[in-house]
Amino acid sequence: MTGIDRRTFGKLLAASTFVSADLAVPAFAQTKAKGGTLRVVVTAEQPSFVDLFGNGAIPAVQGELVSIDFDMNPQPSLAERWDITEDGTVYTFHLRKGVKWHDGRPFTSEDVAYSFETLRETHPRRRNTFANLVAVETPDAHTLVARFSAPAPYLLGALSGVGTAILPKHIYKGTDLKTNPNNRRPIGTGPFLFKEWEQGSHYVLERNPDYWDTAKPRVERIIVRVIPDSAARAAALETGEIDIGHGSPIPYGDVERFLASKRFGVETRGYELGGNLHQLFFNLDNSFLKELKVRQAIAHALDIDRLIKVVWNGYAIPSPTAIVPDLRNFHDSTLKHYAYDPARATKLLDEAGFPRAANGKRATLNLTWNPGMAQQRQAAEYIRYALGEVGIEVKILNFEFSTYIQKVYTERVFDIDVQNLNNGYDPTDGIDRAYLSSNIKKGLPWSNHTHYSNPEVDALLTSAAAERDPAERRRKYVEFQRIVHRDLPAVNLVQFQRLTMFNNRVNDHTPYAARLGSDYFDRVYLED
């Protein structure tokens, strides 16, 4: 067994702690020394490590077909290049030669074909991506041809390490996918070998000596620790117990203090694939909220700048539309938020026939918030206050996560749902589920729970998904944004910024590609 006991683990940690207090900013470091142990913190433990069912991936172990750069363009990785036919339905991938799985078997086009076909059945989001996939052919070991029944302009964006897991066919073929031991101790083609997993505590990755890019990776070992509590993560980072954390590891309110110490840095890139959107949805079956004027009044009652300040500590930008600014190919920047204007809100509510009662209230609404993200609670508190100012009493309902899903998507107890239904890397990923009338599905999480139904929107979204011409595709999504901005089934609030916090001894941790914080770590190196 390669297991290390607690004491040895402690020694490892101690041995790799070389944080000097007066560390200068190593911008022009001469030595890019190999080796060392990178200690990473994550907020929650993955149930398994192979993203078969939407459970999250480790690209650093698994490898990826393409890398998506900061401008959302695909770059070669396992696929060295690719051709797309004129009509956009046939994709031919030319795969890198000489790549080996961590168990020594060669990586071939068979593995990729198997991955596409498997994920089409099992993965909640790849089910859409590969829905029109009619055939996958493997003319030789390093060529893969994927044929679609309709153009698939969104395909390449889905093929990064966080999108599509490339599965070792020889391990999975003919086994039960759910219980395959590889899920807990995965092999891949990536720069790191999965060494061991101490459930509830940490897992260890080790440098892959046979990685196809021989100059990488640079660090010898990565220890990923699970610390669920944000204050504890901040303390661990501060004491030098960990080096780096993704996905906003510390409270936003602490970031300034960390930066002021000069020992830490913050990175905002790397999250471009998320399309992070914070919005509130209306229950359109509510007789009060059914009135457009009421929804407009609510939009006018919210001060987005204040929300950004008190809820997001400034780490967010306004996103007045359903498609966030990060998705620059589709975002309509001409749309603006309904201006913050309580007087106008009051007037609209009066006009809609909801004057203040003797107690100063016009209506009482139940507000739910997605407990998956801490800021939602503060946002709920802000919205409660802001709507109270214009005479709408808001009752916040708190639920823990599984009850929340049940109460909101099955029982629909909400009038307003504060939510972060992200766009993902492409509108097909995050928009369709919430706005298509065919996605009004009782009990299905993240579906169209407002019960918004507009045939025009349905037609636009359906045709945009298969539109080959980028300009035309954009035009359709812009049109969609204008319609929902007018109809207001939701008030889109902000695009929030997730942060990577790191000790300054860590370099090149976010080199070029957006991986939603699930970093590849192939270039990262440590400076002592």
Binding site: S230, A231, A234, P251, G253, D254, R257, R306, K309, V310, V311, R377, Q378, A380, E381, Y382, R384, Y385, G388, K395, I396, L397, N398, F399, E400, T403, K407
Partner: protein
């Protein structure tokens, strides 16, 4: 007719000297009050509790409006702006308003949950202790179920599954604390039901309800009062702990919730946790002091010395 009248006379005689109930206990109650007052700890406790009650009572006058309103600039230190003497939290809510209105919630939860718990516990315990036999057996088994489940875990589950609000929190706390009172009441009843005055009351034909309510409960009160005082303190703690975990009523302010939100800022704005934390400590400590003093005063051994 005549028989009924005679019963009353007999019953009154049964309360006479030796049977020891109302007259002696009334005299003792007065002495209890003074004993408590002589207890210096209790005096401090009463003063602190009085101050907190006064704060709760005057909250709507001194800090009118919604205590959860975003009243000012976020993260003001105490004293930095006289409009917010205790500062503001990360969202700009006034800490003083939170403390004063939070006192109302803490006291309401403490008293209501204890009242419910005592009511339930005494009823169940009285039935078990008074009737004994198979009913007693069944009830004791039932109480044991509650005793074997860790109280706070049960509370968290209850409140998380039902939606958190002040009343679910109160009911939840009552549900996890009634068993102590039930056991205590049962024990008292098992002792007291053997007493001569109970036999006397029974012999003159009083029903079970009368005997339980009028004869035994008044005599079983002293230990119950002491336990209830401590229960109020622990209910306040439980509510704070729940709110700290984010399971309190989101529509009302609570000291525990204030600590929960302030915790993220503990390194830079420690007062956000220290102030509500201090008030919880003071309240619970005051109640414990009062409980101790009551215990000393009501305990026969100590009362005599």
């Amino acid at each position: 007719m005549a028989l009924a009248e005679m019963n009353t006379t007999l019953a009154e005689n049964a309360r006479g000297p030796g049977a020891g109930e109302f007259a002696p206990s009334r005299k003792r109650r007065r002495s209890v009050f003074f004993t408590v007052l002589r207890h210096s700890g209790a005096l401090v406790g009463l003063m602190v509790l009085g101050a907190i009650i006064a704060m709760a009572a005057t909250a709507p006058l001194i800090r009118p409006g919604d205590p959860l309103a975003l009243a000012g600039t976020p993260l003001l230190w105490p004293g930095q702006d006289l409009a917010h003497p205790l500062g503001t939290d990360n969202m700009g809510r006034d800490v003083l308003a939170g403390i004063m209105h939070g006192a109302r919630v803490s006291l309401l939860v403490g008293v209501a949950a204890t009242a419910l718990g005592v009511l339930g516990g005494v009823s169940v315990g009285a039935v078990a202790g008074y009737f004994g036999g198979r009913i007693d057996n069944l009830i004791v088994r039932f109480i044991e179920i509650f005793q074997t489940i860790p109280g706070f875990v049960l509370l968290v589950v209850l409140v998380a599954v039902i939606q958190p609000s002040i009343w679910t929190v109160i009911i939840g706390i009552a549900l996890t604390s009634w068993d102590t009172i039930a056991r205590l009441t049962r024990a008292e009843f098992r002792t007291l039901r053997q007493q001569d005055y109970v036999s006397a009351a029974r012999s003159v034909g009083y029903g079970d309800a009368h005997i339980i309510l009028r004869e035994i409960i008044p005599n079983a009160l002293p230990p119950l009062v002491v336990t209830a005082t401590i229960m109020v303190a622990s209910a306040i703690l439980s509510e704070s702990a729940l709110a700290f975990l984010g399971l309190g009523d989101p529509n009302s302010v609570s000291w525990g919730a204030m600590i929960g939100t302030g915790r993220e800022y503990i390194r830079t704005h420690w007062y956000l946790t220290a102030i509500p934390g201090g008030f919880i400590v003071a309240t619970v400590f005051a109640l414990n002091l009062i409980g101790d003093a009551l215990n000393d005063a009501l305990s026969p051994h100590l009362a005599r010395t």
